[in-house]
């Protein structure tokens, strides 16, 4: 497993659209993508779970990727969050 901590910077936090952008971008990877926030772990490929996590702007999350293409998945996920999730 590889992981990295990253800060959510888009104004709205993990709302519908950012969550859709994130899950759509990580779904093609074979690896499992998990978001750890406030001690809970959420499936990064699920829009619903991402929204349910209630991640606000300024929150620090940890992205964990496990699988054959974990490095690439993590790089993509981190880049997305840092660039503001298309918001």
């Amino acid at each position: 497993m590889v992981s990295q901590k990253v800060k959510v910077t888009n104004e709205q936090g993990m709302h519908m659209r950012p969550a859709t952008v994130f899950s759509a971008a990580v779904t093609p990877f074979d690896s499992d993508v998990k978001i750890v926030f406030n001690g809970n772990s959420y499936d990064g490929k699920s829009v619903m779970m991402l929204m349910a996590a209630c991640i606000k702007c300024g929150a620090e999350i940890e992205i964990q990727c496990t699988g054959s293409d974990e490095e690439a998945a993590l790089a993509k996920a981190v880049e997305l969050v840092e660039s503001g999730l298309g918001d």
């Binding site: 104004e11 519908m16 659209r17 859709t20 490929k45 699920s46 619903m48 349910a52 209630c54």
Partner: protein, 567 residues
């Protein structure tokens, strides 16, 4: 009369079509042939996707792309592995499709409806919509076809789902009444986009009314009348005429220049708080941004925004405005706002204390980050820098010196910016008003902040109900101050604008025209109203009124005269 939440303005009078809630109960049974049940479920999902895509398309064409996002959101949710995927797993374990849909949706509804965030709670109603649509498909229930209702229909429903809204024929539906929903619910947003009067959250309305009852929907006040007598109806017919006339009147001003009755062209800008608001300003026909509050970048976060973050935010607004003026006010905070990482101490008198430009000049490293961000954004359009809470000329000079420092740095780094960027000041203190002639020699423009100017001039805390009666921009002291500021700016040849609430006040506008104000910056939704009022006054008429007003001695007399003279 029944009271609800006013969600979409206007008056509707018509005959009720009651949208009955279907009985969606089903018998949970154990499934042996799980493959057949999965096929039945998948058919329902496919039908749901087809229906929803068609509705999204319909809404995009008839209402707008932003409203269509609601239906696209439903598609994204159903495609989620935790939705259809979880439901499929339950069916494989022997549950019937209806039970699987209900269990998974209810779990998410429970989760989202407990959240504090309004937008998140809205997701609960989205999922509830999805659940109802899926159950109807599985149970073979067909909806009333809203697209076929007769002209002059008032729709009454427990809730108006986006799917119902997508079928509404604007010409036939004159009003909407529901039992749930608030001003920001989907139904409210869609009703406003369709310009259909709507009153939401009227308790038990579906039990009170019958099909074909007559209803009056007053979406401006939030009032609903069922089977009212003739007198009430004729009152509302008149109200409806007035509303329609006023709306048509305002629409004539879309895309027009802002000119007085005698042809003087003025600037009508908007006040915004985030880059996204700039889009609203454009939609509402604003001609520029007269006040872009930069505080949003600093609030609700654990540390100072970087130069890059600030640059991106300013640039976004500047690009949306496409070459039109964007006046960015530098950080306006003090001990009354909670920004923990700034380490500001609570003060006895925060409004008289360590705040705004005073704080920024004392923390010039932080201030320069903001100035650099603004300067870099100035390469992408027409940007101006505005300094809040100025009380003496040294402050303006000090900010200008910092701007020059930043320019030199950027030049040596080879970064582009507008060499001629203007630096102006907010005139919102009694001190600044009294030395407006001195400030006008240093500042490139003035913008009068009437809210603070009133507070500081009248020495009144507007939050304190005991003294709030003194808080009025129509107090002779405040009016004299405004007049003095405008005249000093005009004498020095710099633009004077106003970005307080008074700039959109129909009673204040003739006085501002008379005093010689050039730029009016208002809340985006008030652009057309302000443009319409401005168009009614000539300089000569405004001068005649102003002369009478300035001869009066009390606020009460002034407001009475302005009301009597209003156009």
């Amino acid at each position: 009369m029944y009271k609800g939440i006013e969600a979409s303005r206007g008056i509707g009078i018509g005959s009720i079509c009651l949208i009955v809630e279907h009985d969606l109960s089903f018998e949970s049974k154990h499934i042996d042939d799980t493959e057949a049940e999965k096929a039945r479920f998948n058919n329902a999902i496919e039908a749901f996707k087809t229906e929803t895509s068609a509705m999204a398309e319909n809404i995009r064409k008839n209402i707008g792309p932003k409203e269509a996002e609601i239906m696209e959101g439903h598609l994204a949710m159903i495609a989620d592995p935790t939705m259809a995927g979880e439901m499929t797993k339950m069916i494989e374990a022997g549950q019937c499709a209806e039970a699987a849909v209900t269990a998974v949706c209810d779990m998410f509804i429970g989760m989202f409806s407990k959240m504090e965030d309004d937008m998140m709670r809205q997701r609960a109603s989205d999922i509830s919509d999805i659940k109802i649509s899926l159950l109807k498909l599985l149970l073979g229930i067909e909806d009333v076809d809203i697209s076929k209702v007769a002209p002059g229909t008032v729709l009454v429903a427990h809730d108006l789902t986006p799917s119902m809204c997508s079928q509404i024929v604007k010409e036939n539906v004159v009003g909407i009444i529901t039992e749930v929903g608030g001003k920001t619910s989907h139904s409210a947003i869609l009703a406003r986009a369709l310009e259909i009067p709507a009153v939401l959250s009227v308790p038990n309305i579906t039990e009170i009314v019958k099909d074909k009852d007559t209803a009056i929907v007053d979406g401006t006040e939030g009032d609903v009348y069922i089977n009212p007598d003739g007198e009430v109806i004729s009152q509302y017919v008149i109200k409806r005429e007035e509303f329609v006339k006023a709306q048509a009147e305002l629409k004539k001003f879309i895309g027009q220049k802002t000119v007085t009755a005698d042809g003087t062209e003025l600037e009508l800008f908007c006040n915004i708080g985030t880059p996204k608001d700039a889009r609203k300003a454009v939609e509402c026909d604003g001609e520029g941004i007269g006040l872009f509050r930069s505080e949003f970048l600093f609030m609700d976060r654990p540390h100072l925004p970087t130069e890059e973050e600030q640059f991106e935010a300013y640039k976004e607004a500047v690009e949306i405005m496409g070459g039109r003026t964007v006046i960015i006010r530098t950080l306006d905070i003090g001990g009354d706002k909670d920004i923990p990482y700034l380490g500001l101490e609570k003060e006895e008198n925060p409004f008289l204390g360590y705040r705004a430009v005073r704080y920024c000049l004392a923390n010039s490293d932080m201030y320069k980050i903001q100035l650099r961000g603004i300067l870099r954004a100035s390469a992408f359009g027409n940007v101006k820098i505005m300094v809040p809470l100025v009380t003496c000329v040294d402050e303006v000079r000090a900010v200008k010196a910092l701007v020059e420092e930043c320019k030199n740095e950027l030049r040596s780094e080879g970064v582009k910016f507008d060499e001629n960027i203007e630096v102006g000041c907010m005139v919102e203190t009694a001190a600044a008003s009294l030395i407006a002639d001195i400030l006008a020699k240093e500042a490139d423009f003035f913008s009068i902040g009437t809210n603070d100017l009133t507070q500081y001039t009248m020495s009144v805390d507007r939050g304190n109900a005991e003294v709030a009666y003194l808080y009025s921009a129509f107090q002779p002291a405040v009016l004299r101050s405004i007049k003095n500021i405008i005249e000093a700016g005009n004498a020095a040849g710099i633009t004077v604008g106003m970005c307080g609430e008074a700039a959109a006040d129909p009673l204040m506008i003739p006085l501002l025209i008379s005093f010689g104000l050039k730029e009016y910056s208002v809340n985006p939704v008030l652009v057309l109203t302000a443009r319409s009022i401005i168009s009614k006054w000539s300089k000569a008429e405004a001068d005649a009124l102003a002369e009478k007003v300035l001869a009066l001695t009390t606020e009460k007399e002034i407001v009475e005269l302005l009301k009597a003279s209003a156009k």
